[in-house]
């Protein structure tokens, strides 16, 4: 269970939002909504421990994430705006490196399968620099297919630059994760049909 209390975020010298409270329980799908610039990405970065909150705290399984960082990061997958791809490495190499850094055991077969499921089978050995924007995006998303046992997924605009079928497949995979008892916190500008009832948190209400 992810618990957020009285969270406040400062960017530069501007308070983006304050007093954000949020609880995410197993099986829940939470969407962070709000207009551009309200601090959705900043909130997600605070949730995964990349940023330092100005005030308040984030707890995972009852422990503050800055005190139990390693256990929390073992249970968390964050996909941000940047695709985390190196242009000189192939999608397969990038994916395997990302998985290994996260302590996920992913052999070549599993990684190839994940790339095939996200629709990158044919491109798996090309250098990443020849990929299109949508394909680069998908290399990052392929990690979702290796992270079934990682309970908390924090996704920043996962549907951007994906075509209709890819959006549908990804939505199904997120549904399946929630059905397994996983948790998803994400932002998106698109209306995606989920089977799981989606809870929307409007960040504009907490904006300063």
């Amino acid at each position: 269970m992810l618990e957020v209390t009285e969270l406040a975020c400062l960017r530069g010298d501007r308070m983006l939002f304050a007093d954000v409270a949020l609880t995410v329980r197993p099986g829940e799908l939470v969407r962070i909504a709000g207009p551009n610039g309200v601090g959705k990405t900043s909130l997600l970065r605070l949730l995964c421990g990349l940023g330092m909150p100005e005030h308040g705290q984030v707890s995972w399984k009852g422990a503050r994430i800055d005190r139990a960082r390693e256990a929390f990061h073992r249970d968390t997958l964050y996909l941000g705006h940047a695709a985390a791809l190196n242009d000189l490495l192939s999608p397969l190499e990038n994916l395997r490196f990302a998985a290994a850094c996260h302590g996920l055991s992913a052999d070549v077969g599993q990684s190839e399968l994940a790339l095939e499921r996200i629709g990158l089978g044919p491109q798996r050995d090309l250098p990443a620099k020849v990929l299109s924007q949508g394909q680069r995006r998908r290399v990052g998303l392929a990690r979702l297919y290796l992270s079934e046992n990682v309970p908390l997924w924090i996704l920043d605009e996962p549907f951007t630059a994906l075509d209709v079928t890819a959006v549908r497949d990804l939505a199904e995979w997120l549904d399946a994760h929630c059905a397994r008892g996983g948790m998803v916190v994400m932002t998106t500008h698109q209306d995606v049909p989920f089977a799981t009832p989606m809870r929307t948190v409007d960040l504009a209400e907490s904006a300063c």
Binding site: L10, R11, D13, R14, M15, M52
Partner: protein, 253 residues
């Protein structure tokens, strides 16, 4: 008792409490700085006897030595505040560090400048690669590096933390730099440029030097308090209490 003391110490670490306190203390230190400087310069320039070897030129040490002491000491204080900031995550300590840096660099520069002026008649050259002068020069670069880094980073919180790391890394290296330069100096220069030290320094000379050291202390404290005050106003301008302070100032004007 102990928890009470701890509480009161941390209470002054809050910017809104420290701001008026600094405002009350700074003028006293400024007055002390002026007083000590006048006394010290009088003692040094009029009372202290003429040096048997160097004549009147030596009197520059009443500025040179306290400036050199202060420039080294300020770096240590910066490292101290940085360590406090890293451990306790207090905002004020980073502001202290940043307020100290320009004064440290200034003293460093004064020490180098007066050193060169002193060196010309004593060694026959404005600059010799003396161990002390060389490490002073490197210290000046450490100050410049610190100021350049904290100013290059726009986000003040990132600037604070990056500055703290740099100050700590620098503080670990300062003694290493000093001893390596000293070693290098003895290997390459030999005894040709050893400072002529008076066998026994006259008491008035020592007094004048100590008074000047006190003056630079008081000056540093006063300037740093003022600088921290403006840093606080800048950093906390979105808070209510700064708004009240600024309103009060506007009403006065």
């Amino acid at each position: 008792m102990e928890s009470g003391q701890r509480f009161s110490l941390f209470r002054y670490a809050a910017p809104n409490v420290f701001y008026p306190l600094a405002g009350r203390l700074a003028p006293w230190f400024a007055a002390a700085a002026v007083g000590f400087t006048l006394i010290g310069l009088y003692l040094g320039f009029f009372v202290a006897p003429t040096d048997a070897v160097q004549g009147e030129v030596y009197r520059v040490i009443f500025i040179h030595v306290p400036a050199a002491w202060m420039s080294m000491f300020i770096y240590l204080i910066m490292a101290f505040w940085s360590a406090i900031g890293v451990v306790f995550n207090t905002r004020l300590s980073a502001m202290m560090t940043q307020a100290l840096a320009p004064t440290g660099a200034m003293f460093c520069f004064v020490a180098l400048w007066t050193g060169a002026l002193w060196g010309r008649p004593t060694w026959g050259a404005y600059w010799v690669w003396d161990a002390r002068l060389t490490s002073q020069l490197l210290l000046l670069f450490l100050y410049f590096g610190f100021m350049a880094l904290t100013r290059a980073i726009e986000d003040p919180r990132r600037a604070d933390k990056a500055g703290a790391i740099l100050a700590l890394v620098g503080a670990v290296n300062v003694p290493i730099i000093y001893f390596s330069v000293k070693w290098w100096n003895t290997l390459h220069q030999g005894a040709s440029v050893s400072l002529t030290k008076a066998p026994s320094m006259a008491t008035t000379m020592l007094m004048a030097m100590l008074v000047m050291a006190l003056a630079s202390w008081a000056y540093t404290i006063a300037v740093v308090l003022w600088r921290v005050r403006s840093l606080i106003l800048e950093r906390e301008r979105h808070t209510d209490w700064v708004g009240e302070v600024l309103d009060a100032k506007g009403a006065q004007a």
